[in-house]
């Protein structure tokens, strides 16, 4: 029996879980600072749980691919998630091959979850070309993309050596990105749980 003093255990009362995927394994990667910043900004939001998932730490083999190499812990985190932030550096005008390798290891875990992409690059475009290439992949995986991106352009100048953001003009953009992502995460959670496919 439920009373007014009982905790609300319904699924809609649970905090949103929105992990940040650091989408590169390259040594010296500047994307790590961007991922840490986004994780910290998400953690400040009420009713949101987050963590940084570093794909360099996932034990995925490279002599096979797809769901055959699914990592149980990564799968459980994605299955639990309501949305994802993907930090995607641009390498040679594309996204990281290892990011695709990791994303391809799951499928059912993504369906009707929100995703936002943060591009990172040493140049002025902030990973925009890599983001454009990644969007159809995310759609095919069943994820729902938002219409805000974050672009960490000129990333070598954007963070100080200790990893702190040196240009605070990025923060309002990140705020808009996260607001849109959280709205979409709430909306899709409601849809997954209460709106039946007809």
């Amino acid at each position: 029996m439920t009373t007014s003093d009982s905790p609300d255990l319904s699924a809609e009362a649970l905090p949103l879980y929105i992990p940040v995927i650091l989408g590169t394994v390259r040594q010296g990667r500047m994307s790590q600072r961007a991922a840490q910043l986004l994780t910290a900004e998400l953690a400040r939001r009420p009713h949101v749980e987050t963590e940084l998932i570093d794909i360099a730490r996932l034990p995925l083999p490279t002599n096979d691919a797809g769901e055959a190499i699914k990592d149980p812990e990564f799968s459980a985190r994605i299955s639990r998630s309501d949305a994802l932030v993907i930090v995607s550096p641009e390498y040679n005008h594309g996204y990281s091959g290892m990011l695709k390798h990791v994303l391809d290891s799951c499928l059912k875990e993504y369906i009707h979850k929100a995703v936002g992409v943060a591009g990172v690059s040493a140049g002025v475009f902030g990973g925009a070309r890599g983001i454009q290439d990644l969007l159809p992949v995310l759609r095919e995986l069943g994820l729902v993309t938002i219409f805000w991106d974050v672009n960490f352009a000129n990333v070598n100048q954007l963070f100080s050596p200790d990893g702190t953001l040196s240009d605070e003009r990025m923060l309002p953009r990140i705020d808009q990105f996260l607001k849109e992502l959280i709205w979409m995460a709430k909306t899709l959670r409601h849809g997954r749980q209460h709106i039946t496919l007809q």
Binding site: L14, L107, I111, R189, Q193
Partner: protein, 51 residues
Amino acid sequence: MKCPNCGHPMNHHADKLLLYDDPNLDAASPLLESYSCPHCGANDARLVQPD
């Protein structure tokens, strides 16, 4: 489908067509049915053959 976590009936919210990439298979490609639990938030899926 019952929730594997709490036993509550789950909501069927998506079907995804999975295309076989093996040219030797002539069976119809299956659908991945996706479910979510309105009680505890768990997600699950099952493969079904289309009619």
